[in-house]
């Protein structure tokens, strides 16, 4: 009878992803290209906001976009129609992007001529929060119709983001969304998070958000 022995492993799961993500950040620093990871639930307004952002800053900064969806290429087509280089990643059932998938997307772009790449992550408030994409900053959108209780239900997403965009504020009047309660809940999870209120429909708040993005990008690539 063979004896059972114990082998020490002591390895973190996802460690591989963290290594790839760190390497990616080094590469972006060397290329002087800012990388932003944009997350939200499906339909909160990622693609529309990216298009608005492009409109606002494409004359100042050279931008590229990586679109991730479980299937379909409609989002990348919309971005390409705005005159911006876009890569569509089909995650084929995966509920999130990881750093090696982002790396593949970046390999399809000429980083030497780009100041900034925005990643539109898969629409999902759970899984993308757990996987480091290698981005320099993480931004999430919460849209007004989703409700002000989302930080209570999806705390990790709110904890890992540098910026929260409360979007579709043109719906505020018709809803019982409590902005004060939302802010309190978010800041209790993440006191350092920056919160902007936006509407891609009316254009409200887009300038302030774009100013933050411009500043973050120029600081990084300087």
């Amino acid at each position: 009878m063979d004896e059972i022995r114990l082998i020490e492993v002591k390895e973190e799961i996802h460690a591989d992803n963290k290594v790839v993500a760190e390497k990616l950040r080094d590469r972006m620093a060397a290329e002087k290209t800012f990388l932003l990871n944009l997350m939200s639930s499906p339909g909160a307004g990622k693609t529309t906001l990216i298009l608005k952002t492009i409109e606002t800053i494409k004359d100042d900064l050279r931008m590229g976009v990586i679109e991730a969806d479980i299937d379909s290429i409609v989002d990348a087509e919309k971005v390409a129609a705005a005159g911006i280089e876009a890569i569509q990643l089909r995650t084929g059932g995966f509920c999130h992007l990881d750093a090696s998938m982002v790396e593949k997307g970046l390999n399809g772009l000429d980083l030497s001529v780009l100041d900034m790449v925005i990643i539109e992550n898969v629409g999902n408030l759970v899984c993308p929060a757990e996987f480091d994409t290698g981005a320099i900053k993480n931004v999430m959108i919460l849209s007004v119709p989703e409700g002000d209780d989302k930080p209570l239900k999806y705390p990790l997403m709110f904890s890992v983001c540098d910026v929260l965009l409360v979007n579709k504020i043109d719906y505020l009047e018709a809803s019982d969304f409590n902005m004060t309660a939302l802010n309190e809940r978010v800041l209790a999870l993440n006191p350092d998070i920056k919160i902007f209120q936006t509407s891609s429909k009316t254009g409200q708040g887009i300038e302030d958000w774009a100013a933050w993005l411009r500043e973050a990008t120029t600081t990084f690539i300087r």
Binding site: I7, K10, E11, E12, I13, H14, V126, N190
Partner: protein, 100 residues
């Protein structure tokens, strides 16, 4: 939520370590789990059985040890009212494994 990719990573790591240590068969894999992890243990065992077919780990059991030493609760227990950022509690770690 993403039990499948996590289970794939576990299998990769244990097989790599088995190779290094000249193992014939993996019997039990001990995992340290952060208290806030939402991974379903039952599903992970099922996925593991499926993914490990034909490997040294085919009949291995996953054993989960919940780590309570982390910050623990969603709100940091140390500073009730004060604002703070949650740094850990979701991690997953392969501690060791019993092998033949």
């Amino acid at each position: 939520m993403h039990e499948l990719p996590v289970t794939e990573s576990i299998l990769d790591i244990v097989l790599k370590n088995a190779k290094k240590n000249d193992v014939k068969k993996i019997v039990t894999i001990y995992l340290n789990v952060g208290e806030l992890s939402d991974l379903e243990e039952e599903w992970m065992q099922k996925y593991f059985q499926y993914l490990s077919k034909g490997t040294l780990a085919e009949t291995a059991q996953l054993s989960f040890i919940v780590d309570k030493n982390d910050l623990g609760k969603i709100q940091c227990p140390k500073c009730n009212e004060e604002k703070c950022t949650l740094k850990s509690g979701k991690e997953y770690y392969i501690k060791n494994m019993e092998v033949i």
